[in-house]
Subunit: 343 residues, 2 copies
């Protein structure tokens, strides 16, 4: 017992317990928590994680914008569990990884109750970081391209600090996500929590909310309903659109990799709103017209990810082209809207 | 009982009670809550508010950076009350106005526990907004020039959205205050709360924490102790310094006026760090030397308020020149440091 200075009367503190990783400790499955797992991206992530038979998946959702329908095929599965819970309240579960997606992501929903949106981002992230600390889990936050606001640099690199209005009607989401990132890094620096931050750019695909007011879902629903596609003026503002399977692959690579991020995930292919409307019209319903409408305040004029870092660090890039992804989403919307198939 | 449609079986909801202003309802004094009232600016604000015999002042402070000493002369006064309370917990008091100052403001203190700093800004502001909503009080938030970050525009107007690092070591304060502003405006838009937001630039005067690491207090303490004045490299970065009595007058005018803000309050007189060191040396102790030291990360290179709006809307501008304010602060520091008066 003379090792390490103990013979000199030095009292050693007990060794810090290294975080219990259940998957290693019990040789059991990897237990993965997905907050917001009944949502659009969340449910596709759950599908992918469930493909691996070594994974157990626990989904937490308050069903404000998520839907049980998105998880129908997993309900009752022995490796799957669904908990109705609001992340603004603490949660005690024993998991190895936390994918923290919970937050309404469409302006229509996040502006519905802005104070709740901030609470979801701040208290929700605090609660999930507290959980990560308690059980030694690694935690991934899905942040957003909205942290860049109405960017003054194009395309946006992760080092860009953004141009965000702190007191506007979209601030609850933009500033809420920024402070969620701050909390992640402060927990990382202060408590050594293993963090991962993805900044997600526009994503599209099956299971998007049909009436959530986002441009791709708007256009496809309008085309299927035979209504005019409403382009917000001037129509020259650009967005990039990433198909959801590409996004999910990026999130899993980020979680499994060694880089904390923030890392941009998105498709750098850039389209003006007018181009997008023309494409949807051509693919879904060539008989509809295109109509210019007034824009909403603080709508960014341009946004396009620089994904150099994701490519270098994660070996990731999106594979699905817009012209290939849109019909898959159109078919999902057609079924959900009950529109008969045209020849 | 046939009025207002009741005879038609229409059940009228009870009339919404208009906010009870105690000062009007009971013809009593104006009751004013000052959070962080034991701090540097807070205690000077309390002094000024207590001058008016129609005011009752309640101070809330957790004494993390504030000090009872700053309020010594009011303890026991019939129009004054001091409550030890942390604003991250809810508070139920019946007041007409809330000056919400509570938050460590010096990097040394706000970086000590960054997660707590964010909680203070977010939960603290949420709790005070909840109180304002409950009792119908008007609430003023002291935000900060730090919401402009390392600004790319000089001087800073209120319309400038800032250039802030979301994941740096200072982000807990900068982003915390930004999201506090967001919460203020969301409560204003969502619940009709009467809000006022001041963006405070560097303020100096008696009762600053001697060892809080801010440049004016550093230089004065160093000069009095006969130590070298440590200028962070390169020394050409500028700050503007507002004497505390000017600041307090601005805050009261903002609270009493009709403009929500945000309104910059500060002194537009700009000094480089090297100039400031020379001035302190000349006024306090000409025998000390000036030494260049390494800078801290994310330290803004320049910051200077545009106070056109404060001037137009509040009729306010600072009156005290740096050369007049520094000796008043020097005398306060001399007494607190126990340095004998030199001839």
């Amino acid at each position: 017992m003379a090792a390490n200075g103990e013979h000199q009367g030095v009292v050693k503190p007990p060794p810090t317990p290294s975080p219990l990783r259940f998957s290693k400790f019990f040789q059991s499955n990897m237990r993965i928590l997905v907050t917001g797992g009944a949502g659009f991206i969340g449910s596709h992530l759950v599908d992918k994680l469930m493909e691996n038979e070594k994974n157990e998946v626990i989904v937490v959702d308050n069903f404000f914008t998520g839907s049980k329908d998105n998880l129908r095929k997993w309900i009752g599965h022995p490796r799957f569990e669904l908990i109705r819970h609001d992340v603004t309240e603490p949660l005690l579960v024993e998991v190895d990884q936390i994918y923290h997606l919970a937050c309404p992501a469409s302006p229509i929903f996040y502006k519905y109750n802005p104070v709740k949106t901030i609470k979801t981002n701040v208290m929700g992230t605090l609660n999930m970081l507290g959980l990560a600390k308690r059980v030694g889990a690694r935690i991934l936050l899905t942040s957003t391209s909205e942290v860049y606001g109405d960017p003054l640099e194009h395309p946006q690199k992760e080092e860009y600090w953004g141009n965000v209005n702190p007191i506007g009607v979209r601030s609850c989401y933009d500033e809420g996500k920024r402070v969620a990132e701050t909390l992640m890094f402060d927990y990382h620096r202060q408590h050594g929590i293993e963090i991962r931050i993805a900044r997600i750019f526009n994503t599209y695909g099956p299971r998007m909310n049909i009436d959530d007011g986002r441009v791709v879902s708007n256009f496809i629903a309008q085309a299927l309903r035979g209504e005019a596609l409403t382009v917000q003026a001037p129509g020259t503002q650009t967005r990039s659109f990433c198909y959801v399977s590409d996004m999910v692959n990026g999130l899993i690579r980020l979680m499994e990799g060694d880089n904390t991020g923030p890392i941009n995930l998105g498709n750098p292919g850039e389209f003006t709103m007018t181009e997008l409307a023309e494409t949807v019209k051509g693919l879904i319903n060539p008989s509809v017209t295109i109509k210019m409408v007034e824009n909403t305040p603080d709508d960014p004029r341009q946004r396009k990810p620089d994904i150099t870092k994701a490519n270098e660090v994660l070996g990731w890039e999106p594979k699905i082209k817009l012209r290939d992804g849109l019909p898959l989403m159109g078919e999902d919307f057609r079924l959900r809207l009950g529109v008969p198939k045209t020849a």
